[in-house]
Amino acid sequence: MSKFFERDRGVTVGTGEMSLGARSIPGVVPEGELVASCRTGDPEAFARLVRLHEGMVVSLAARLLGEVEEARDVAQEVFLQVYKRLSAFEGRSSLKTWIYRIAINQCHNRRRFWHRRRRDREQPLDEAVLAPVLPGGRAGAANPYEETLRRERARQVQAALLELRFEHRSVLVLREVEGLTCEEVAAALGVPEGTVKSRLSRAREAMRRKLAGLIEGEVRS
């Protein structure tokens, strides 16, 4: 049915800085070539681009919005925007940072959309975001007790994250969860690096206050 995407896991794209831990890279296509192919309207190239970045976009959106389904919806919008605006991508930042920027803007718009409709307070926090069940489990969380503790910690951290102002939340998620450098965060948000650092400082301080109980245990241990 879909002429755009044919599933093909054989070839993927690498830039050297991509955090694509789980993806195997049998044949690596440079980012520039992928972008060039996408610009010519090659549906297979765009499919590859989507496959490459959908995980990070959905994860980022879910952390920022607190809902996985909402995040998937936003991710679709993000890739439609990417498709439309790819011709305007100048390559000054990496493709990943550029997509992050579109994703942040989309999340911000979505949040404002719900805020205008007074739904942001009524929305229940998504259990899948608060306490995700990881298929393989993490190192050190092999037994059920550890796993329960880990999920409870993640739930509290995510709940605290969702209480932050959007600009603090986005800077924290990009820096601490997605692991971007301050420079990349600045590029993704379109603000000066100094602003990123000051927001980061305030956001961390706010999280420290919100998670005081949890941190006490962490520091003691």
Binding site: F5, V50, V68, L80, V157, C182, S201, R208, L211
Partner: protein, 238 residues
Amino acid sequence: MTCAGVRRRLSEWLDGDLEASRSRIVSAHLESCGACSRRADELRAVSGLLAELPRLEAEPVEAPVALRLELAAGSRRPALAFLFRGVAAARPFIFPSLVPAGCLLLLVFGALLAVDPGPLPEVRLAPGAWTSVPASGTEANPLFPSAEVLLPQQLASLSLSPELLAGHGEGSLFLETVVARDGSVAGVTLLEGDAGLEQPLIEALRQQRFEPVRFRGRRVAVSVYRLISRTEVRSPRT
């Protein structure tokens, strides 16, 4: 540096973004100040907790994105979009594609014009009685000359021979002639005058031919009234 100053810079210090000289001052302060050192540990714990958050797994969005792109591609070009493009941008094949459409339109309109629409539909009066009136514009229910229905033009002038007119006395004849749809005379009715005496004249009038009259694109039958006066003209007495 005061505790407040150190705490303001702790976030940057933890990221290693602080310039070397300041970084050393902060490090030295943390070694001597238990409260600030504890604050640094707490912030480190915050980072640790955030870093521990797992990457969320969700259904791939590849298929819905592909579907939406396909839908967008299908509806991207609105109909008649070429009207809003510059002449230079108009691709030449657009115009040939209009030719068959134009031919079809011509064919349809031509067929409509060629087919004689026939008489106007019959009008039924008094629904209970189902009395039907012959269709308007037919020989049985002709129209009368008006602004829209022109007076029929005679094709070949009928010469009413002097004998035809002279055989009878003076007086006027009032006649109704119904000009049929094909231009022939469908009937002549003598409304005033002696039918027996005027028979030859009536016969002569029946032979007349007219240009068919049209009303709203249809040929119609028209009723024409004529008054023929015969007055003996005498030369003035000398």
